[in-house]
């Protein structure tokens, strides 16, 4: 299957391999992310998704291969790609606006400017009512929204999301999908999305890489083409077709 696009990829993982205690976890992983694309890494638990996530985020150094971001080798370097995961990791001692502004504060922006930007962003997503609350006062779904805004504010070009919605209940999850698609319509951030939820992957992604085997590698690549991404898509014929194909590849 050749699904490569004409433009240069913004991020590329080349021949990534990683072993833990001499046990190979992933091997020969190649993947590309193009500008404004959302690519999912889909796999069952234990398929090395999170290891791959840590390697791309630069928190782990792979044994083989490299990560290339906009032409530069960033293997093992953190601080370039922002990420968010299942745990929202909002700092409990900071107000919501300060949490959102955190990446800017770390980049040494002036506190008042950083807070102002965070407030504008919260306002844009109608979350400004929570600006001066503390995280513990918010529900899981709300906290995850804040975490996504923070991720976006750190790096507008690229974000890496590791099962961000998997801790939420089904109804909240649907709401979050809708909210997230809306956010993506506004900010077309290139995104790598890690998930074990087949429906979620099909609903949100432009392309899906399916991880599997032991040690894990990319078993299949699937392009999702849909004009109008919304919750109706989930009930359509084509959605089921995609799902069949994904499930066939996951086996």
């Amino acid at each position: 299957m050749n699904l490569s696009q004409n433009s240069e990829p913004i991020l590329e993982a080349k021949d990534i391999g990683f072993a833990y205690d001499k046990r190979k976890i992933i091997t020969g992983v190649n993947l590309k992310l193009h500008k404004n694309e959302l690519v999912s890494l889909l796999g069952v638990s234990g398929s090395g998704k999170s290891t791959l996530f840590n390697i791309i985020a630069g928190l782990l150094k792979p044994d083989t291969g490299k990560i290339v971001y906009e032409g530069a080798d960033i293997t093992g370097k953190s601080g370039i790609i922002s990420y968010s995961f299942q745990k929202d990791l909002l700092l409990p001692y900071l107000k919501i606006e300060e949490n959102v502004a955190l990446p800017l504060l770390i980049k040494k922006e002036k506190k008042s400017t950083a807070i102002k930007k965070a407030q504008e962003m919260l306002k844009e997503f109608r979350l400004d009512a929570y600006a001066s609350n503390y995280p513990r006062e918010l529900s899981g779904g709300m906290r995850q929204r804040i975490a996504l805004l923070r991720t976006y504010l750190f790096s507008k070009d690229l974000s890496l999301l590791d099962e961000p919605f998997s801790a939420l209940d089904a109804i909240t999850k649907d709401e979050m999908h809708e909210w997230y698609m809306n956010m993506r319509r506004r900010y077309n951030t290139s995104t790598i999305f890690i998930t074990h939820d087949v429906d979620e992957a099909i609903l949100l992604s432009d392309r899906i890489y399916i991880l599997g085997n032991t040690p894990s590698t990319i078993k299949a690549e699937l392009k999702i083409e849909v004009n109008n991404r919304n919750n109706d898509f989930k009930l359509s014929e084509s959605f089921l077709e995609y799902k069949k194909e994904v499930l066939r590849n996951l086996e």
Binding site: S78, G79, P103, Y134, R136
Partner: protein
């Protein structure tokens, strides 16, 4: 948090306790040379009040200076030992050993080396107050959330940022718990060092009245010391509420 009705129990117990004590003294069940009655103690307290306040000011100053210096030192030790593993490995055993030295034994030496004034007292208070702070902070720095730290690192945070945004704020609870211990140690430490050499302070007053067998005054000064400790603890509580606004009210 605290229910007003709940405080009725300790108050009632206190009143009953004092009443029984007073009655036992009035009936001479307890001989006067062994134990003064509550009324005698209050009389002594009122009589000697100006003198007590004079000595209190001295002890309070020692305690506060010693406590602040001890807390700062404890904080610096904890930061250095957390940040540099070699500092930790080198000095941690000595931090522990420093607490095995009996205060009573070292206080006269401090007087010998540093005289009868403020300095030896402050040093002794530092010695007893830095320890809870160092241990409390160190433990809580080390147990800071690894995922939060990684997230900040992924944003390019410096070590300083990690202390500022994660390690220090997440240690506040432990810090204040330790500060309460240190605050009460600081008063006791000050009094003990005054016993063992000095011209002013509640400890000096205490030694004098003890030598004069003025047990009513002895109890009066104990009350003053208790009140001082309680006020310090209350101040720590207040400080904690002000500096941890993210906690549940």
């Amino acid at each position: 948090m605290k229910n007003k009705k709940d405080s009725i129990y300790p108050i009632a117990f206190g009143i009953v306790f004092l009443a029984v004590w007073q009655i036992l003294c009035t009936l001479k069940v307890i001989p006067a040379f062994l134990m003064p009655s509550p009324i005698q103690i209050i009389k002594a307290l009122v009589e000697d009040f100006p003198l007590l306040m004079y000595h209190l000011a001295v002890t309070l100053a020692e305690s506060l200076i010693g406590l602040i210096a001890g807390v700062l030192l404890g904080l610096i030790f904890a930061l250095l030992m957390d940040r540099f593993i070699k500092v930790y490995k080198t000095f941690y055993p000595f931090v522990i050993i420093s607490q095995t030295i009996p205060t009573i034994a070292i206080a006269p030496l401090l007087v010998l080396w540093f005289g009868y004034d403020l300095l030896p007292k402050v040093i002794l208070i530092i010695l007893v107050t830095f320890f809870p702070i160092t241990i409390g902070l160190l433990e809580s720095f080390k147990s800071a959330d690894k995922d939060e730290i990684n997230l900040l690192k992924s944003m390019g945070a410096s070590e300083f940022d990690i202390y500022k945004f994660i390690k220090l704020p997440s240690s506040m609870g432990k810090f204040f718990a330790a500060l309460k211990i240190s605050a009460s140690y600081s008063v006791v430490g000050g009094v003990i060092s005054e016993w063992l050499g000095g011209f002013r302070g509640l400890g000096v007053y205490m030694t004098r009245v003890r030598k004069a067998y003025a047990f009513d005054k002895m109890f009066a000064v104990i009350i003053i010391i208790s009140i001082l400790s309680l006020l310090l603890l209350k101040a720590v509580d207040l400080l904690q509420k002000l500096s941890m606004p993210w906690e549940e009210k």
